[in-house]
Symmetry: C2
Amino acid sequence: MSEHNHIPLHSLKVSCSSCSLRELCLPVGLNREEMSQLDTVIRQSRRLKRGEYLFHSGESFKSLFAVRTGFFKTCVASQDGREQVTGFQMSGELMGLDGISTGNHSCDAIALEDSEVCELPFGRMETLSRDIPSLQHHFYRLMSREIVRDQNVMLLLGNMKAEERIAAFLLNLSQRLSTRGFAANDFILRMSREEIGSFLGLKLETVSRTLSKFQQQGWIAVDHKHIQLVKVDDLKNLISGCSHANGH
Amino acid sequence: MSEHNHIPLHSLKVSCSSCSLRELCLPVGLNREEMSQLDTVIRQSRRLKRGEYLFHSGESFKSLFAVRTGFFKTCVASQDGREQVTGFQMSGELMGLDGISTGNHSCDAIALEDSEVCELPFGRMETLSRDIPSLQHHFYRLMSREIVRDQNVMLLLGNMKAEERIAAFLLNLSQRLSTRGFAANDFILRMSREEIGSFLGLKLETVSRTLSKFQQQGWIAVDHKHIQLVKVDDLKNLISGCSHANGH
DNA sequence: ACTCAGTATTGATAAGGGTCAACCTTTACC
DNA sequence: GGTAAAGGTTGACCCTTATCAATACTGAGT
């Protein structure tokens, strides 16, 4: 936590050492002292291997986690084994907001590839956010954004057909990847067909068939987990009308 | 805003004059001064007639609203007219949290019967919550609870069959009504079959048929909007396994 | 390089729920 | 109080997606 002093504020974005969190999740507009206060709170990052749980449903909630690198899914499970994936998280995105409510996590968070997260002890963030208004505001906005995202998923699950869901899903991924500087139209899926299906309320066979269909129509190219979007406009046409439906 | 001085703290619950909000939504544990600070922020309530919009999607976000009396739905609409009801709100429940994210409401809120709400100007609540830690904490918890509720709706929409959805819906309503001191097994639906369907991702005909089916089985009695739950355990059996699925 | 388990594709068939339509009931409004 | 509009029920039929099944591919680990 040293170099801040030598670096102009506006470039902190790219030069913070400990954690990419601040670039991606936290508000600009903090002064140096506030930044260093934040530094004392954010714990060093934790590494997880593919398949590892970041937290389990029911576990006591202590911290939020921000993805530094890698890819996660969050899911709620019913007693009889059915599971609903409630979201996929990539770098800069936050997990654990559901735990604040009861003090226990209400979902599982699982790494879909080797990943790294920043831990944000919530109690200390809460305290700190009292002293730093813009931080408090930012947290309210983050939680609200999650609510909006969830509402859009409801719209997707409640109103859209399989093809529309898949198209919305691909376009949403594409948009989030390009925000992070990755190619928008050429990417690797980090999740299985079954996990996509669980998120979208479809069976894995339907996901597979729909991807094949899109490929036959020349809209996308599918090579297992490697996806290329060829005709983005056609995909967008499919969901125009049911729009709003882009989470995150 | 007068009688607080004469009334012991623990009974504020029942005796606040201006607004039932504090009883239902806000944390206990405020002292008298904090309570009176809150009083200066909470605006007098607003009355709405059935069918009236409390706010529209896209409208600038200024305030949260808590239902005092009556019943609301919130919904997001797609361009082509499809609408997804994202929730039904009854007394004590909050609307508008989605607006914090962008500064604009992302859904419509519509009164399903003549209703009364408290307005909570968000900017002032935010400021106040800096000075009153328990208020800040309470807001975080409220927002988190909304996230958990939405996740459970996703589970419902993504995994459950029509009968399970309807059963979960009825049981959820029942539970929330009984929390408020109303009969748990005998109530009037405030929403149409179509609105139920929109919330549950079903068509109105399916809602109607499923209610008829439950009635034939002797599990419930249906007289238009008047519903009686006769065999609650059978309804619960239907959704055991997919449980978790009770919002709010 | 081989194997086994997990993952994906594709086809055939079935079921659940959507769609269309007719009819009935209630509510709201003139 | 009568009439129109909205809401609700029920039936027949069809479409989308789930289910079941066979096969193929991939990749991690030996």
